[in-house]
Each structure stands twice: as structure tokens, then as C-alpha cells.
């Protein structure tokens, strides 16, 4: 590209030899990164947590956290050398030349100001217009990012909007100063898959209308493949590979790229099979016609509730849900936030009472159980939670966490329990050396492994997994999913798997149920449901799985 540089306009973003170091760290978080985004081009910056991709993005707009220092390199936006500009000049770059779409929309809008005001402020920071004109532009922006009744919406506060809506507001803010470059930093993390797709589509539309260049930071190679013309792969602070999206996907050079590619759930449609490296014990695979181990029959759950404005209401969380799960297989419940899938899981795990209906585990009906009657069943059903950062006691060692269920059930002596913990840790792929560590010293993936080891310690035949991988990076997700598949093959455990993401579900489940507004709208074998979805909502979920745009230019 150097040959055409004289004739072409300057790149929208040029990063060369950039080094960033955090105070107290013994090495740079970003080490000599070179990156170019041409005008109108979408470039995806892909890497896992800690790869330095977000640090790089913040360095470009000079909003690094206190304690981070750019030690070497240059950044230019169009012709402006970003790193040497005064704070005053830098203000025109922020918002005016570079628009930022931040990571977590739920905390990225000021909670005490109306969204209209926050948009107006962004408009007026870069355009010399009076208040009324700015308000007009802000309402127009709201309409462009997909709000109906912009003049009503503008008076709403962030907490009155859903996560997806808030991200639309933030996209509006990012475009308010008519930037040449959009910096989208994991713009869809924490959003439902269907909302993710809508948000990314919204960005695409605006970018195409205006010819804005995009640097899309993401940990999901699937998203990168679908949205970008070029992909830059970052690992451990360095760019390990970059190139045309289609080429990079079809012929990855670096082993890390290959690993990311294998991990992306959207690029790997088949169900995972147990890895062969692990010796298979004598437990045989379950017969396909096994009797149902878990039976959920016309289960409903409603809550009496007082709304924040003081009115009484009834929440119908789950309505008339029925399904069965054969022993040793995986049934996945899929749906967006508010669909009732988590409440259903909590009823099966006896953390929640059913208002009506029957749940049977093995031969035991568990719906009528109270108090002490529940205790024996707890050995049969264990639950794994979404967030491994808050489901482990931060003051306890791994040893104590994993041994707790054993202790509670008075299984073995102290020495035997310690031996079992080491065995369990080995089984979930953790080295014995973690036994004395505390959760804060472990990564997210390691913590979820500890949670799995704890749940498995008393060998429950049924495991309820509530979004067990959605808080994890895709590469770590893949490892944990593989572990779950391996454990199921070894131990014959039955899984009830809760997820919002069909791409994950198709990797692990034999059968799937799709929930919406408290009802089970569709259920069947995973392959069949994916191939011939009956319900419109199922089709929307399938559509939301990112697909690589094979070599399509801008």
C-alpha cells in the first residue's frame, strides 16, 4: 500500500510503533503496534482480555486511565498527530474526528441527565449552533439510531431504557460530531444476541451512509469476520497477524489466530465431541432412548410485585413450560433477558418455587418439597452460575471452596477430601498448585473451572448451568465448553444449559427449547430446530449468529 500512498488521502487512523506501559508493570501492555485504518474502511481489532486491544483503543483517543503512559510511538488521525496535540486541540479530535462507542452501555450514560441533553451536549461540543438547532439535530440523531417518538424519548433517563436502547443513544452521541473514525470498543458485550446484531447493523448503516472509517475492537472473531474488511489480531500486546478478512479466515498464519478461529462459536456450527486425549472410563454413552431423567411439566411461576411507581402488578415469569431431558444428555433453554429461562432453571435447582406444575428429577417430584425435604435432592441437582467472579467466596481458598459440599455431606476424612479436591481440580484441568489460592488470584476461566469442580464434588447426576460461559472470552468459552462435554462423557451427567446465544447452544446441546415472554415457543433436537425453525423468534436468534462476509468488499 505504500506505493499508492502519495495519491491516496491520508489514512483515517495511523498507529506506528506504539508502546503503552502501566505504572508498576514490568513490561508494556502494548508493545510496538502498527495499525492503519483507511478512510471508509472497517478494521476489526481482535484479541482476548489482556491482549492490549482496549488499551490501544484508549491510547488513540488519549483517554488512558491514570497510571498508563504512552512510552513510544505515534498516532495520527487524518493529518493530526494525536500524541503531541494540546488538551485544547485534543478536544476537537475527541468526538469531532473520532467517535467512541464504549464497552458497557448500561454504565456509559450519565444517570442523572436526560438522554436528549446528553446528545445535545455532544452536538454543541463540535458545531457552533444555538440550543434549539442542537436539539433538532439531537432528535434527528435519535431517529437515525432507531428511536420512535424521538421528542418523547429525549426526555427519558438512561435507567428507563434497555441496554440495547442505551447503546443506540451512545452510537448517536458518537456520530453527533460527524467523526471520520468510529472507535467501537466491544460495542455489544453484555447485550442479548438479537440486540447485538441490531446494534451492529445500526453502526453499519450509519457508517455506510457517512463513509466513516471504523476500528471495531472485539474478542469474537466471528463478529470481526462478519463486519470488517480487514482483521488485526492482537496477542500479548503485539499484533501477531493482520490482513484481509476473508484471507485471514481461510488461511490463518499465526497459531493464535488459528486458536481464536477454532474458539469462535459462530464459526463452528457442529456439536463438540469429547476430546480423545482423555482416557474414557467405563461409563458408557447413554442410550438415545433413555427414560427422561428430568421432567418439567406445565410449570408456571408468577410473582406479586409493586412497581417502582407504586402500582401493584403480577409478574408472570414462567407460563406453562414443559420439557423432558433424557439421562446423560444436554437440554438447552435459549431466550433473551426477560424470557423466563433463568427462573425455570432456578425452579429446577430448587432456588425458586413453582406456582404450579410438576418437576421430577429421577423418580423424585421436587416441586412440592419444603425445608428439610429438599436437602437430599440437593445432592442430585447442583447449579453453576453465570458470573464466576461473584459466585465464589473471595476470602476462601480453592481447597476450601471445592471441599465445602463434601464437608457439608460429611464425605470422607479431611485427608481424603484433600485428595478428592486435587483429583477434581485435575479433572477440570487446573494444576494442583491453585489449591491454596483465592479467587482473586485466578482468571475468569479458572474461576469457572473451580465452580464446576465444586458442583461436581458430590457427583450430582443433574447439573443446571446458568449462562456458564457468557462472562468469559470466546477462547476461554471454548475451553470451558469442551471441558463440560468431556465431563459429561466421563460421568454421564445430565445438563440443563441456559444461554442467550444459539451459537454456543449448538456446540453443546442435544435438544433445545426456545423461550420467549415466559413461554416455551419451540423445542426439539438442536439440529432440527436450527435447520427448520418453526417460530419467528427462533429464526431471529439464528439470524443473530454472525456469519463471515466471505471476501465481500465495502
Amino acid at each position: 500500500m505504500t506505493g499508492t500512498l502519495e495519491a491516496a488521502p491520508p489514512p483515517a487512523l495511523q498507529v506506528s510503533g506504539l508502546h503503552v506501559r502501566y505504572r508498576g508493570a514490568d513490561r508494556d501492555a502494548v508493545r510496538g503496534v502498527d495499525l492503519t485504518v483507511r478512510p471508509g474502511e472497517t478494521v476489526a481489532l481482535v484479541g482476548e482480555s489482556g491482549s492490549g486491544k482496549t488499551t490501544l483503543a484508549h491510547a488513540v483517543i488519549r483517554l488512558l486511565p491514570a497510571g498508563a503512559q504512552i512510552t513510544a510511538g505515534a498516532v495520527s488521525v487524518a493529518d493530526d498527530p494525536v500524541l503531541t496535540l494540546s488538551e485544547r486541540r485534543m478536544r476537537h479530535i475527541r468526538g469531532g474526528r473520532i467517535g467512541l462507542v464504549p464497552q458497557d452501555p448500561t454504565v456509559s450514560l450519565n444517570p442523572v441527565h436526560q438522554i436528549g441533553r446528553q446528545l445535545v451536549e455532544a452536538v454543541r461540543a463540535h458545531r457552533a449552533v444555538d440550543a434549539a438547532t442542537a436539539r433538532g439535530i439531537a432528535l434527528e440523531l435519535l431517529a437515525q439510531v432507531g428511536f420512535d417518538h424521538p421528542e418523547v424519548r429525549a426526555r427519558q433517563y438512561p435507567h428507563q431504557l434497555s441496554g440495547g436502547m442505551r447503546q443506540r443513544v451512545l452510537i448517536g452521541i458518537a456520530f453527533a460530531g460527524r467523526p471520520d473514525l468510529l472507535l467501537a470498543d466491544e460495542p455489544t458485550s453484555g447485550l442479548d444476541v438479537t440486540v447485538q446484531k441490531a446494534v451492529l447493523d445500526q453502526i453499519d448503516t450509519l457508517v455506510h451512509e457517512r463513509g466513516t472509517a471504523v476500528l471495531l475492537v472485539t474478542h469474537d472473531l466471528g463478529v470481526a469476520a462478519e463486519r470488517a474488511q480487514r482483521i488485526v489480531v492482537m496477542y500479548d500486546g503485539q499484533v501477531v497477524e493482520q490482513g484481509d478478512a476473508a484471507e485471514l479466515l481461510s488461511d490463518p498464519q499465526h497459531p493464535y489466530t488459528r486458536r481464536l478461529l477454532a474458539a469462535a462459536p459462530s464459526l463452528r456450527p457442529a456439536r463438540l465431541s469429547p476430546s480423545t486425549t482423555r482416557p474414557r472410563p467405563d461409563t458408557p454413552a447413554p442410550a438415545p432412548a433413555a427414560p427422561p431423567f428430568l421432567l418439567v411439566d406445565r410449570v408456571s411461576r408468577s410473582f406479586p410485585a409493586t412497581l417502582p411507581d407504586g402500582r401493584r402488578s403480577i409478574l408472570h415469569a414462567v407460563r406453562d413450560v414443559s420439557f423432558t431431558v433424557p439421562a446423560g444428555s444436554t437440554f438447552a433453554l435459549v431466550g433473551e433477558s426477560g424470557s423466563g429461562k433463568t427462573t425455570t432453571a432456578r425452579i429446577v435447582a430448587m432456588h425458586e418455587r413453582a406456582s404450579s406444575g410438576l418437576v421430577r428429577v429421577g423418580d423424585t417430584p421436587i416441586t412440592g418439597l419444603t425445608g428439610g425435604g429438599k436437602r437430599p435432592v440437593r445432592r442430585v441437582v447442583q447449579m453453576i452460575h453465570q458470573n464466576p467472579f461473584s459466585s465464589l467466596d473471595p476470602r476462601w481458598t480453592v481447597q476450601r471452596i471445592v471441599a465445602e459440599p463434601l464437608r457439608a455431606w460429611r464425605i470422607g476424612t479431611r485427608a481424603e477430601r484433600t485428595r478428592q479436591v486435587v483429583e477434581l481440580l485435575d479433572r477440570v484441568g487446573l494444576p494442583a498448585s491453585v489449591i491454596d489460592r483465592r479467587p482473586v488470584e485466578l482468571s475468569g476461566g479458572q474461576r469457572q473451572r473451580v465452580a464446576i469442580a465444586r458442583a461436581l464434588s458430590i457427583r450430582p447426576p443433574l447439573l443446571v448451568l446458568d449462562e456458564p460461559v457468557s462472562a468469559l472470552d470466546v477462547s476461554v468459552q471454548a475451553q470451558v465448553l469442551q471441558l463440560l462435554v468431556d465431563l459429561q462423557a466421563e460421568l454421564g451427567t445430565t445438563y440443563l444449559f441456559i444461554s442467550h446465544d444459539l451459537a454456543v447452544v449448538r456446540q453443546i446441546s442435544d435438544a433445545v427449547g426456545v423461550m420467549r415472554a415466559g413461554r416455551l415457543v419451540e423445542a426439539g433436537p438442536t439440529a432440527a430446530v436450527l435447520r427448520e425453525p418453526q417460530h419467528a423468534y427462533t429464526r431471529a436468534l439464528i439470524d443473530a449468529i454472525p456469519r463471515p462476509t466471505t471476501g465481500a468488499p465495502a
Binding site: 486511565p65 475527541r94 456509559s108 450519565n110 441527565h113 455532544a122 410485585a305 417502582p308 415469569a317
Partner: protein, 343 residues
Amino acid sequence: MTAIETALLAGPDETVEVSPRGRRTLTRYLLGRIGQGVFVLWAAFTLTFALLYLLPSDPVSIMLNIGDSGSFADPEQAAALRAEYGFDRPVIVQYWQQLTGVLQLDLGESIRTGRAVTAEVLAALPPTLVLAGSALLLAVILGVGVAFLAAYTQRDGLRRALLMFPPLGVSLPTFWIGLMLLQIFSFELGWVPAVGNAGLSTLVLPMVTLAIPTAAAIAQVLARSLFSVSRQPYVQTAHAKGLPRTRVYGHHVLRNAALPVLTVLGTSVGGLLAGSVVTETVFSRPGLGRLTQTSVGAQDIPVVQGIVLFSAVVFVVVNLVVDLLYPVLDPRISVHDGSRRSV
């Protein structure tokens, strides 16, 4: 578990069906809060009554000893006084009489001066209001100023220097600050008179003395709040819009950080009243503090009781106002449940 907790625990994973029944209004909330306030006042009255009743002192002998110390009172005269004031009746009757008196704003008469307690308190009020009001204003300006500057500045040295003041101000005793100010500005420099209540020149030192602890408390709470808010993602959004630093801090950070300060302000009113006792004594100013000090010294029980009740009223009213201000500052707080909704 309350219904609202259930609704919060149930989280967003639900569908909602609304039945339009029983809308709690602001009026109803206010009536409830005023009811609570009345209860607090009743409790304060009852507690002081019980405490003073249990104290080993006899108001009648105090009355008779005024003027001619050492002389023993005539037992008949004492009995007559006892009957006049009702001290000879059973305690429950005394309690009931005093309570009905309070309800009619009749707090009895001062043992020391013989004037009505309400008149004594009202007479002492204006100078204290001027002092406490100006001290509060100064405290807010100083406290907010120091905290905001410490958060706003990008020079580490200045920030560290500014942040040294609040812990110092909180830990220095009021009387010591007052004496030091007197020593320096009245006796050494002779800029302002040391005592009295003669306009602005005599107000300055007591005002500063009284303001410093409150200012320090405000600065401590606000600085911490400002630092934590300035690390919030929405502040990054504000920076990324290209707003000037003054606007980011003045418009986005300060407003969000102000809430804990409001709570401090509510409680600091009590501190100001307590501080006025020391301050007015040190600077020989008339006022509620001085009245408290004299009345306690003279065991003038009706006046002490009147001051306690008055302070309780001030406390209840100020905290009600603070609670009503929360939803104005933060739209996520509704007066109906008084708590911040999950975000």
C-alpha cells in the same frame, strides 16, 4: 421478603402485567414521613423527661437557692412551690401534664428567670441562626471548593496538599480552633474584636470556627465521591464527546458525586447546633448555645427540655428536606420506596 425485593430479585427475566390499583402518591409519602417525625419528637421528649426525672437534682431547692446561696429554704415554702409546679404529683401525671403542655407549645417557665421557655428559646435563636447559617454557607463553599479542586487538578502535588486539610479539620476540636483564632487575629493582630455580638466583625471568627469541622466533613466525603465518580464509564463518555474538562467535572462528575454530601449536610446541622455551644461560649456570644450552657449549668430543666425538643424539630425537618431533595438530584431514586432502583 417484600414485594419490591421479590421484583428486584426476579430481575429483568420476567414479563410484567400491570393492574391499575392503589397508586401511592407524594401526599401519602409526606404524611407518612411527618408521622415518623412526630414519633421522633415524642421519643425525644419522653427520653429527656425520663432522664431528667432520674437525675439526682431537685428543681425546687435550685429555685430557692438562687440569689442567696447557702441559706436553707423554709420547708413550707418548698412544699408550696412543689405543689405549684406539680412536683408532688405521681410521675405519670407530671408526664401527662408536660406532654399536653408541649402539644400547646407551652413548655413551662424557666426556673432561673421565670420567663416562658418558648420566649427564652426564641430570644436566643436569631444570633445562633445567623452564626450557624453563615457557618454552613462557608462550610459548603470551603468543603466543595477544596474537594472539587483536588479532583479537578491534574497536578499531583496540589492534589496531595489539598487533601491534607480535611482530615486535619475533622480532628481538631472546636474550642481549640476558636482559641487559636482568637489568639492570632484578635490578640496578636488585633484585626477583629475578641468577644461580643456587634455586626460582621464579631461574626467572622466564630463563623470560621464553627464552619471548619463541617467543611472538613463535606470535603472528605465529596472528594472520595468525586474520585470514584470520575472513574465511571459515563465520565469517559463525556470526555470522548470532546467536552472541556471544566464541563465534564462541573456538569457530569459533581452532580453525581453530590448525593453523599447531601446526607452529610443533613447530619451536620446537629453538629452545628452542638458546635454553637462551644463557639458561643468561647467568643462570649449570646445565642442558643450559650442558653444551653447556662441552663445546663443552672439545672434549669424546663429550658434544657425546650432546647432538646427544638433541636429535634430542626433535625426532623432538615432530614425530611434532604430526603425530598434526593429524587430531585437523582432521577433513579423515587420517593415511593426511598431507595435507589437497580440500574
